[in-house]
């Protein structure tokens, strides 16, 4: 099993942390992982993206021209990455702020109303975990137990009281993800 995933959105949406939690969860499952961020001035307020690869075997390139799955969280990223999903692959997006929804018919498209649901849950910060939940429902590459362990490893101890809230957000995401095409 190898999953080549890109998560792309605005800086501040928690794109890099989503990737980090998935990568740590992968380690908890004894898998090989690579987390490769876009870095530089564009991170501060502009677009941010991270490539996450989780695999049973040694990982080759962190640099990819096509992906098994793309998680897309703003229009700029949709414009850039919709075409880079492998045929038969998966595109997951949050419709908030998306003016031109994806149009490809050779991939599986899902949407997660993450922004709206996070506000309903009373904590906009769990937005990214709702999206992670939607992703894990569609692509269960790691178990929820290991996501919990991944959260423990990737969050500083002072934030461990927030783990139950994050797990709840993941479960909510699993419930609300819906197939579009």
């Amino acid at each position: 099993m190898t999953e080549e995933l890109i998560i792309a959105g605005f800086g501040g949406q928690g794109v890099l942390s989503m990737g980090k939690i998935l990568a740590y969860s992968g380690i908890m499952e004894n898998k090989e992982v690579t987390w490769f961020p876009s870095y530089g001035p564009e991170m501060r307020g502009g677009t941010a993206n991270v490539t996450v690869i989780v695999s049973d075997s040694r990982i080759s390139s962190p640099v990819l021209h096509e992906y098994d799955t793309a998680i897309i969280l703003n229009q700029q990223s949709m414009d850039k990455f919709e075409s880079k999903v492998k045929p038969g692959g998966i595109l997951i997006y949050d419709p908030n702020g998306i003016v031109h929804p994806p149009t490809r018919t050779d991939i599986n498209i899902y949407k997660v109303e993450g922004t709206v649901t996070a506000v309903e849950m009373g904590n906009p910060k769990v937005f990214n975990m709702i999206i992670v939940g939607g992703y894990l429902k569609v692509r269960p590459i790691v178990s929820l137990d290991n996501v919990e362990k991944g959260l423990e490893k990737s969050l500083p101890a002072r934030y461990h009281n927030l783990i139950p809230l994050n797990l709840e957000a993941i479960k909510t995401g699993q419930d609300i993800v819906e197939k579009v095409n």
Partner: protein
Amino acid sequence: MGELRLMKGNEVLAEAAIRCGCDGYFGYPITPQSEVMETLMELQPWETTGMVVLQAESEVASINMVYGAAATGKKVMTSSSSPGVSLMMEGISYIAGAELPCLVVNVQRGGPGLGTIQPSQADYNQAVKGGGHGDYRLITLAPASVQEMHDFVDLAFNLAFKYRNPAMILTDGALGQMMEKVELADFKPRWTREEIQEISGSWATTGKTASRERNVVTSLEMDPGKMEQNNLRFQEKFKAIQENEVRYETFMCEDAEYVLVAFGTSSRICQKAIELGRAKGIKVGLLRPITLWPFPSEVIASMTCRVKGFLSVEMSAGQMVDDVKLAVFNSGCTVPVEYFGRMGGILPSPNEVIEALESKLINR
């Protein structure tokens, strides 16, 4: 099994330095390697192992602090990125001339000049052909994973002390910023005063005792006859390094008709390119130099008579390709050697590598 963690390449350089018993780090911040010193400052090893961590006023100051501390037989290092490493070149030449061990890490970014902050391999020639003045060589290691960023810190120090020569880890912003699973080594204690005496007492300025001659550390020699003798001794040392320390890895080369030559990040990209190429029926393999100097010329020469061509894949304008050509030239067989690369902070993608292989070698 050691502790498993998800870490950035830059963070792991710091962690590995502490764990291998490094005595001192002197540096100046620059993107994309600032996490090295940030991590050291956060871990505060001066409270635990006693390792000194100091932010100097410039790269010129850092390398000269390394020079001074290395003269005492201590295990010391610095790190920077391309423009900062250029500033260190004078100091590196002095350290090589004074025959001192140390570690310099270059987390390369796009150049020339201030360039970009994105990954590059355009300092290859600077690392392996000189950079500073005079006839010296840098033992140059090129990690291709976060695990190797960890492992090569200890290896670089071992080689530096074995040959009393500066060693460099030549990596790039991608490996510095990337996180991967890494197994951390156990802590090795720093050398005691007695151990330093035993290991380096014959040359290091450890405090003169009544029973021995003064140890003088200098790169200056006013007598050209003696300076030539020094150089001849250096060359003997470099020859021994070339004979004993070549390291490389091959990937799917057994039946390969075409061989990609790439190091560091570009070697990872090439592994993916090989998967794509093999799926199309192209018999392609990878030779990954781990030591860039000494360069694995002999293994290239040994392949030359049974392959149809080499493609040097770089994040530079065609630097390592010269060393591949030289290796092929010395082999006695003639096969084409081509180059493909991207520059300025742009990474080649796996499909571009295969397209280049097809257009430059297979369908030439």
